[in-house]
Symmetry: C2
Subunit: 557 residues, 2 copies
């Protein structure tokens, strides 16, 4: 039955059993303090669940009976762990609150339906009993997509779909699979692997996030250049709504009016709960070649990606770090290691070749069958060389691949040391991407400087291009800063606002693959226009007339 | 100013000046009569416009003044030609009525706005004055997309966008262009060619259909395997609605909620009028290689296409005719030509190689840069060989390419001879396509037999796969039949109903690229579900609360 929620951290990232030595690596913390220009990093531990109190459960006896009649008593849970675990998602803003022990948004109960019919019955019951319903995929939203906000409702339940993780059918003739939406990445890929196919959707949250969540927030995995975004691989859906089931067909393409699956993509659970999806799968790649390149600067790396995309080079991933990100991870990687002779020789060689502190690292991946991936890699090699890059070989690529899902584990030890870390991402056309990069970066740096707790302290702002298209690319910013411990949430809001204002003013979308959740609703009117918001509200009213579904997400209240 | 409407036939296909000798080729008509098992084909000329009378114009003086205030007097037209030209589209059903002189659906006037602001003003005026508005792209709809149906309204105007055909911007850095939606194919491609790029969207209606129409009916061009469908190349739109302008952004991808451009795709003018679009363009191909193959049967050809798609062979087009279509065009091509020695040798060779009357011809196209198209062609060669096919070389391909937009001209002379010809198209997953093909074909054959005007007469039903995907393909049926002259429309309806019922019952979509128009609305509830229709109606009400836009299209009344 899906991922056991007690095996995942309720107020941090990932497996409770995950172990690393980051917390005790004093060399790292001294280095990070100096990067942030702080004399030292204070211990800021999170509060244990045992100390915390939860709001009283607002469900009536009738509500509980009604729900357990649908689900069976064992599939409604309201113990402290379940309620705390489902209170918020995993954004920086969420973690600030969870670690401080703020469980005011805890749902009154968590239900675990096992079939579409049960989801429909829960929604029908909730609609007639004024209960807000928060759909919960893997709970990994980093934009407030699953927080227990209940809007005008006094009662709220979270619908956790992790028991709905069956693979219903794998059609190897059509190259499609029909799967329940509560399945998480590894279970899905394991089932597909048994038939020799893959979806290839690997967001950083892959281990915990679910098929329904990927569709609901219109996501993209790290290999989306090859495997596509959710909108590319989604064939059809079943969407359980308070007004009944909306089912779409499974034709590979259709001109029969607007496609209703498109309305579910990015709907973030405000129109209905995706219970099942038919998805395009493809043969598992025979070849999977990831390798590193070093470009002289961000511009030349970006130009190489643009050329590769516009010349149809079939890359799986082209991930270009800016100079600051390159420098940061290089310095981080060297910590605690004596510089080897080969490392010193490599450094010397780079200097000779005039690679300086503007140098930008890229990880490029090529997957596929037969000669195609090698041909694509050679094409990209030539483009990279033409743009002055140095090929670094496969070791860098393999290293990245082995740690591709580990980065989120870095956040918790930072949170334990008074350090804040958040990310934001956007996308724009190639014509706009340079200005968007510069403006967002500047906005982040300025906002961090304005909110640091101590004169002279500063942040680290870094960026990479993670996804690219013929007409543009995405930018993914990570920013690390000393926390203003007496006003952490205000600090986060100030930085977020400054950066997102810059994104919108420079032609970027407010999200390329994280979604809207609660965090981006202040900008949704600018993104969609008032008439666009009217359209989304009209769809909402058609499917969820009493407005019980995921209050406060996607649409401003 | 766009295509002069007086240069196009008001009751047939294409340029008024188009000349061919089909009408007088008695050998063709004798052959066709024998194929249809008819003793002879009767002359059934269309009625000339001079003989016909139009319904009186229902616009009041105030209406006319209001509209001409917005547009200038010269941009409102109501002469007989303009009204007749804009009465209907170019479906078989439309032609039956136009040729018989039925102009009862003529709009009261045709307006030619020159800017988005004028379209907005026309819509605002129409909404407050109870005037139905029919958006008119190129008028080439074959599913009743532009017919002058006015629903509950007593007055109707057609908005012809052909004066809005400016190319606003070609951004060669991003590989995008921003263009007014009234532009037709050749003008668009000419402007793009000047910058070395192409959209590559080439439906059979290419010469007359417009950018706005392609988006509005969610179309696909002949080269969509490479260039994509409208939903693939559309970046952003401006949609003029009675409630104002809806504008979307131009990010290459976004997770900022459902994308409103998706709602415009396939909306068929019932939500608003697309006035401008930003589209993805790509470098014009250096290489463009079209060639023929002959497969032993439809199954093996279909299997080759499936393998090519699932193994990422970068074909631009894989167009496979079934045995009947192959035989029909082969016989048609031989008419009036003495069999040459080389032709007889070729026939002999085919027989030796055991190609019989089940043989199926394919035209395959490969476009692109550098070695890629040749590599793709070689990959496909190998796949075709593995499936027992014979490579026919480039001559067949070039011949197809030269006549790629001419097929619709065959219809009018047939209509002059008591022959009916219509097409319908669908798509399904690979698992379903065999049964869908057989069932639709059988339904067409039976329905034609049941409606022929004469015992023993029969129809010709043929099919090709025109568009393919990793997970399925489209089927395009053409059916030719002796007309039941005393009940032509009833005959058409009976055939259409039988075939479309079979399509829907066998998991096909009701349209792959023609759209819904009026003709497919009887099946739209089956396609979308009642809840899905509620969603579309909700969008309609949000954007067009008084329901003036394109009554009777897309949504059943």
């Amino acid at each position: 039955m899906g991922i056991d929620r007690t095996k995942i951290r309720w107020n941090g990232w990932g497996w409770a059993a995950h172990k690393d030595d980051l917390g005790s690596r004093e060399d790292i913390w001294r280095w990070l303090a100096s990067e942030l220009n702080m004399p030292a990093l204070l211990a800021t531990p999170s509060r244990p669940l045992e100390e915390l109190s939860l709001p009283p459960c607002a469900l009536s006896l009738e509500d509980r009976h009604g729900l357990t009649r649908v689900l069976g008593a064992e599939h409604l849970r309201d113990d402290a762990y379940e309620r705390a675990f489902h209170t918020l998602g995993r954004s920086y803003h969420d973690l600030l609150r969870l670690r401080a022990g703020d469980l005011s948004l805890a749902p009154d109960a968590v239900v675990y339906p096992r079939a579409t019919e049960e989801v429909l019955a829960v929604l029908a019951f909730a609609a007639t009993h004024d209960i807000a319903v928060i759909p919960f995929g893997g709970g990994t939203s980093v934009v407030g997509g699953v927080s227990g906000v209940r809007g005008a409702f006094k009662k709220a339940i979270t619908v956790d779909l992790s028991a709905m993780d069956r693979v219903i059918d794998i059609d190897t003739v059509s190259g499609t699979a029909t799967v329940e939406a509560g399945i998480a990445g590894p279970a899905l890929e394991k089932a597909l692997e048994a038939k020799g196919v893959t979806l290839g959707h690997t967001p950083q949250s892959f281990e915990f996030s679910t098929l329904g969540g990927w569709i609901g927030h219109r996501g993209a995995g790290q290999g989306s250049n090859r495997y596509g975004r959710a909108e590319d691989w989604l064939v059809g859906i079943r969407l359980a709504t308070p007004r009944g089931l909306l089912t779409t067909g499974d034709a590979p393409a259709s001109a029969a009016g607007p496609q209703l699956k498109d309305i579910a993509l990015g709907s973030e659970g405000v129109f209905g709960i995706i219970t099942e999806a038919t998805i395009r799968v493809r043969p598992r790649p025979e070849v999977s070649d990831y390798r590193g390149y070093l470009f002289r600067d961000f511009e030349s790396g970006m130009a190489a990606i643009r050329m590769a995309m516009q010349e149809d080079v079939a890359a799986t991933m082209l991930r270009l770090s800016d100079a600051d990100e390159t420098r940061f991870y290089r310095a981080y990687g060297k910590l605690g290691k004596a510089a080897s002779l080969s490392q010193r020789l490599a450094d010397f060689y780079l200097k000779m070749r005039h690679f300086d502190d503007r140098a930008c690292a890229m990880i490029a991946g090529f997957e596929g069958h037969g000669p195609a991936p090698t041909a694509a890699r050679k094409q990209f090699d030539a483009i990279a060389r033409r743009h002055g890059a140095l090929a670094l070989g496969t070791r860098t690529g393999e290293r990245w691949r082995q740690s591709r899902f580990l980065a989120p584990y870095l956040r918790d030890p930072m949170m334990d040391r008074g350090v804040g870390i958040d990310t934001l991402e956007t996308a724009a056309s190639w014509s706009k991407i340079g200005a968007l990069y510069a403006a967002t970066r500047a906005a982040l740096e300025t906002a961090v400087l304005q909110t640091v707790p101590r004169e002279g302290a500063k942040g680290i702002v870094m960026c990479h291009i993670s996804h690219s298209y013929t007409d543009g690319a995405s930018l993914y910013f990570t920013y690390i800063f000393p926390r203003a411990l007496d006003g952490e949430i205000a600090q986060w809001k100030a930085i977020k606002k400054a950066a997102t204002d810059a994104v919108v003013a420079n032609g970027g979308t407010v999200s390329h693959h994280h979604g809207i959740g609660e965090d981006h609703t202040p900008w949704i009117v600018q993104e969609k226009g008032t008439l666009g918001i009217d359209v989304l509200r009209a769809v909402k009213t058609a499917l969820d007339p009493s407005g019980i579904l995921n209050p406060g997400k996607l649409l401003p209240s």
